[in-house]
Symmetry: C2
Subunit: 315 residues, 2 copies
């Protein structure tokens, strides 16, 4: 018997990645093409049809999963996508299911990440966990009672916009002090620059500004013993950990899984986060929740997660 | 056709209330008896059997729902119940299902409150809401994606132990600054005493201490225009509202419902809570979540909620 397969599509502002995935998480085929986000949506659909023709000729493809920014899963659209000129409301599920003649499902990046870990990664067999995506922004996808948590309008999981410092840093959402302003790549860059501004001590990170500083540079400096870089990961972990403790009190979680570019800092981030999470966790709940790193390879995580959405909906 | 009925049992440290409830939320029969919490568990079971004999002779009783403190819903026990001498681990579901010869189900107070509002109260027809119980403590019960959220060990919903003021008031859980220390009856009493301590201005609330102050007294004073009492509800609402905004960002809620003794203050509490909730809500989510008061009569809410658990499990 040929096992079932799903097509996972990860739509980004620059390129679209797609792959054929089976239920054990093998990426059987993979390709990518330019999204042409500044042109008409119909060109995207035409290109998608031509690159996938070959993939979809295979046996047992049961559906298409789509991960996209600004996704509204309940009506299958992207709403006012920031970096796309495809219209105010882009009917992704309608358009893609028609041109590919397949059932199609849509979710946002963080939910796709959670499904990917559940089917293929660090959360296999769990019923209650959260995946935190730490990248340009901070997102979260929850599996509770063995089901993906959507919320009323399909938008649950805005962990990045929990208010963390009431009079803190300005956030692009219009508030001040959102967690995203401390635990995202941008937040971490700002934190190290603030530490550097407090002292004249030497550091390999001097001479950069918010634009050309990067989490990779800070990570490298930390591994070489740079005190500003080390302090930055400590502070980031302390803030993140205290907010993870809130999630544990609310959701009674088996695990918290960190994913996304920032999580590649590994133990540099994990250690202070765990310390803070344990310290802030409601005492009656302490010791019941694991803090883990994503087990998905970053380059393919979004495609695998989008494919997992199909298995989750159809099997 | 006779509609189905469920027996709801609310076990308290002093007395146990029980009632026969149909699916439209009518309390068809009701009684209560002393719990004898300081004696052996077997006396409770004997008394329960004798008072319910008559109830259970009725047609179409499909099961028994139990609300109890320190409940572990997943294994049907009370774990180290604070005010009971029935043992370290009391097998409520086993014991009660045997003596009554009925299917039995157990949950904690906050989940029972959420189910009660869902079946019979302010949340009828909703799929995503939270009920906040404001009483001696602060609890919460979540319905997400149309299902009660349990968590890994059945203990989800510890909203009262979200850390609200990192160096704030000592909480009995061992932490400092838990929401419960500001939004519970005890928290409100402490807040008014702190305001009174700041000034010598006259107030009808002078002369009380933490022991003999009550939320009812503060409410009465507020309605008579007492400035200390009014400030107390404002401060309580501001703190509570800011934390409700976190829940909205995480769960994408249709409604937040306030219940429990403290919620009887009505608009005195609702108005500042709503202002703060709206102000702190993630801007993209603003205006999508209603703040409501419980529609359950307080005296019977726990019995109705326990009965709703049966309908939720069996129908």
């Amino acid at each position: 018997m040929v096992p079932t397969k799903a097509l996972g599509i990860d739509i980004g502002g620059t390129s679209t990645k797609l792959g054929l995935v089976n239920k054990t998480g093998e990426l059987l085929r993979f390709t990518s093409f330019p999204s042409r986000a500044q042109e008409d949506f119909k060109f995207f659909l035409e290109d998608l049809k031509s690159v996938t023709e070959d993939f979809l000729n295979e046996d047992k493809v049961i559906g298409v999963g789509i991960g996209a920014p600004d996704a509204s899963p309940l009506d299958g659209t992207m709403s006012r996508p920031a970096n796309f000129k495809w219209g105010e409301k882009v009917h992704l599920v309608d358009g893609i299911s028609k041109v590919l003649n397949q059932k199609a499902f849509l979710t946002n990046d963080a939910n796709a990440a959670a499904l990917g870990e559940w089917y293929f990664g660090a959360a296999k067999g769990m019923t209650d966990f959260v995946v935190i995506t730490l990248g340009t922004g901070v997102g979260s996808g929850f599996i509770s009672n063995g089901r993906l948590l959507w919320g009323k309008r399909g938008m649950a999981g805005e962990f990045g916009h929990i208010v963390t410092k009431p009079n803190g840093r300005d956030c692009s959402c219009g508030h001040r002090g959102c967690l995203e302003m401390y635990a995202s790549a941008r937040g971490i860059r700002q934190t190290v620059l603030e530490f550097l501004a407090e002292s004249e001590a030497p550091s390999s990170l001097r001479g950069y500004d918010l634009k050309n500083m990067s989490v990779r540079k800070i990570e490298k400096a930390a591994r070489a013993g740079d005190l500003f870089a080390l302090k930055t990961f400590e502070k980031t972990g302390h803030i993140l950990g205290s907010k993870l403790a809130d999630l544990i009190a609310l959701f009674d979680l088996e695990a918290v899984i960190l994913s996304g570019g920032v999580s590649r800092a590994g133990q540099l981030l994990l250690k202070p986060t765990l310390e803070s999470m344990e310290a802030w966790t409601f005492p009656a709940f302490r010791g019941n929740t694991k803090l883990l790193l994503s087990e998905m390879e970053n380059a393919n995580a979004a495609v695998l997660g989008a494919a997992a959405l199909v298995f989750n909906e159809l099997e």
